[in-house]
Symmetry: C2
């Protein structure tokens, strides 16, 4: 049994780490879960984090680590049971070192993704992780959930960008392993175990991370396609032409454009008549090529093959930003419409079109609108359901669970995943139990018991407490 | 205490899995360790592997998994204690599925790296892992040690190429998780824990792996450079020009060329006068560029900057193969000379030149010849020591341990690693204990105890038994 964080625990914490239990520490972006807290602590370095963890371990008090709070699976809020100590990384915001000649940056967990991208840009490098919440999301949280985003196609998930971590383990010991090395095969990858463990096995306090060369020529295009199958054929041709230099390949649906027109008229929409499906493509090419010409050549080839109907190639950085603004505004438009149920699924690429067709058919008589968009190049769809016109979210309260179950079942049946890039959190613990490989789950539970025998680290996230 | 594999155990194994205990199962390439075995089993599928593991668990018999046997750290041989059962993957050689439209291939552990590369090439794709032993090395072994090789710079280590695994755990349970997904954030990455665990936490029996687009234009060059620092400046300029499309950047020393001339006169050497340092560069570029021209432009820029003295750009595939033959023959020449001590270290890129200078100075009075070569783009040096002319390996028997300790100490002091791409095996258990982060080591031991409480899985590798 765990105890609530209280004044006695507060008295045992390092001086000056406590914060007021403000409402912002108890929220998650979708307002479906409400957190609780006995205390909020914001340590300044790994040693203070370790002291807080040891105090909580002694007192048997649950710890909920908190980064930017932008997670979408309720990993950052503990809604019931003993009142936790919220461990906020807000004061660990140093970029400890940046090595442009090594393409390595060492950042504390509380650095926002945008700050990290800016720091890399300042030394002429790219930190490639990019997602809509990057102004608020912190790198520690991105590591905790192995965040994805729009550039995974070329540069990989957060995991692929991490060379090493500093982390506080559940017993208060500190791993200090921040190598600036591309190769370091010296035993079990505890780094990769903590990445994606959502704060249930330890707390990442800093990381050494990969930067990339900025491509000599970058370009952006929007292309209207017949459907997802044509889009993926377009991607395959693009990769063959561009030697894998396609960095983003995003799907946008007509429904997404209609939601934008309805809720965010200030967003400038491309194409007079919004196509039913379009893709947003980013490429980054070597010297000697013009990205805009390369995209034009791709468009010509694709048009001849009947894959694309229409296309716009950005002629300026502003126009590229406008195209991206369309894509990045869709989640906001979705919020304004109000989703019945949101999904973050992934599929084998050759199953994407079949899934969209089958799911559409199965949902036809459920009286919902589907906005299917996302990172098509990664097979990652945000397959979100909205009320039919004239109806409200509340009308679907007793359908929501069944609808999500249906979407997840269809994805899993095709070899897909019920969580592509957001993680498990508390929202999808049941999904993991239902669809997770039993032997893998047993190994996960054994590791959780071995590393966190008291069960204080983010209890109830990923695995049932 | 563990028991030796014997006739009673043999009687409990699945029919037909046993093999003769041939000498080849007891070898490792450097002939420094001699394995033992009570039985050799070669199961045909994961269920048979599981049956073997369960039988060994019941009988408390150690298991040593064996792939191609090319590992260089003695992970594949158990030299003392209870006689193990050698679990050979030689009959699990199926490529179960290949999906060129998804860039995914699913292969059993016993498939050789060369077969995997050929299978990908047959469908117009690249399986990017490449190393000198690829004709014999098996993908299961490559996963077990997280093998590196020559294309890590662009495509990552083996870990980066793996999407999922089928694996038999120490209790005989089978993880069957072979997703064809780029994004799948559903709990702890047991995959990444088993990758690099060198068979001490379970046995990988199959994997789903990433393929890549074949670049439209590929090219190879040899450039003579002033030294490692100039070489790394050249790499930085190459990456900036080529948008990260440099796939190999190998260092070759004059000593390596002299060893080649001495022991393998059939290898055609470039340059009439071998330079003291040169780099071998591979690039793979998008359509619209000619790799040979791009390399020529790079050479011109580098020559103007005083970084390169001389250069050869391959004008045909044959010439590119000849260049690579020089590089790939160096390990064989080394074997013919007979190394006093071999090292597989990595360094932060900006520490490479300083390390080479410092190590050279410290070794100046030790009467050894240094052949320093390897994957410079990854900061990964094979810093190998050879007898002075007229002396033999045996003359150094009482110096060997001290020389290795010196090299490793100098590397670690500069933020480097004592094992870049070969793993820990049994050879470097002491190094890991000496230099491994204590909290990370404690976590490793806790996980080992939790997943393999009987200690039967490759005992003595990575962690002391």
């Amino acid at each position: 049994m765990l105890n609530s964080a209280d004044e006695r625990l507060a008295a045992r914490l390092p001086e000056g780490v406590l914060r007021d239990v403000a409402p912002a520490y108890l929220d998650e972006p979708r307002d479906r879960w409400k957190g609780t807290a006995g205390l909020v602590a914001a340590p300044r370095d790994a040693d203070e984090v370790a002291a807080v963890v040891r105090a909580c371990a002694d007192a048997r008090v649950p710890i909920v680590p908190r980064g930017g709070g932008t997670g979408l699976v309720a990993g950052q809020v503990l809604p019931d049971g003993a009142l936790p100590l919220i461990l906020s990384m807000e004061r660990m915001t140093a970029i400890r070192a940046i090595h442009p000649d090594e393409n390595v940056v060492i950042a504390e967990a509380g650095v926002t993704l945008q700050s990290l991208r800016d720091a890399a840009a300042d030394v002429g490098r790219l930190f490639p992780l990019s997602l809509a919440a990057q102004g608020t999301a912190q790198i520690g949280g991105c590591l905790a959930v192995n965040a994805g985003g729009v550039n995974v196609l070329r540069y990989g998930n957060t995991r692929a960008l991490c060379l090493g971590i500093e982390a506080v383990m559940p017993d208060g010991s500190v791993i200090r392993s921040l190598p600036r090395l591309r190769k370091d095969n010296t035993g079990y990858s505890i780094r990769d175990l903590l990445i994606g463990a959502e704060g249930t096995l330890g707390i990442i306090t800093a990381a050494s991370l990969v930067m990339e060369a900025i491509p000599a020529s970058t370009g952006t295009a929007l292309m209207a396609v017949e459907g997802p199958e044509a889009a993926l054929e377009l991607l395959s041709r693009a990769q063959a032409r561009m030697a894998g230099c396609v960095s983003a390949f995003e799907l946008i649906s007509g429904q997404g454009m209609r939601f934008l027109a309805e809720t965010m008229p200030q967003v400038r929409l491309p194409f007079a008549e919004p196509p039913e499906w379009m893709v947003l493509i980013d490429v980054g090419l070597p010297e000697g090529l013009e990205a805009a010409s390369a995209l034009e050549n791709l468009f010509i080839e694709a048009a001849e093959a009947g894959l694309v109907d229409d296309g716009l190639i950005a002629q300026s950085e502003q126009q590229a930003a406008d195209f991206w603004n369309v894509r990045e505004s869709i989640p906001e438009a979705n919020r304004k419409i109000g989703a019945v149920a949101s999904h973050d699924i992934s599929l084998p690429l050759s199953e994407v079109a079949g899934f969209i067709e089958e799911a559409g058919a199965q949902l036809a008589d459920r009286n919902v609108r589907v906005n299917c968009f996302g990172h098509l190049g990664d097979g990652n769809l945000h397959y979100n359901l909205f009320p039919a016109e004239g109806r409200s979210r509340a009308d679907y309260d007793d359908q929501r669970a069944g609808l999500s179950r249906l979407v997840h079942e269809l994805a899993v049946a095709r070899g897909g995943s019920f969580s592509a890039e957001h993680g498990v959190g508390r929202l999808k613990v049941g999904d993991l139990e239902r669809w997770g490989d039993p032997a893998r789950l047993a190994a996960m539970r054994a590791i959780k018991s071995a590393l966190d025998p008291l069960g204080i680290m983010n209890p109830g996230a990923v695995l049932r407490a």
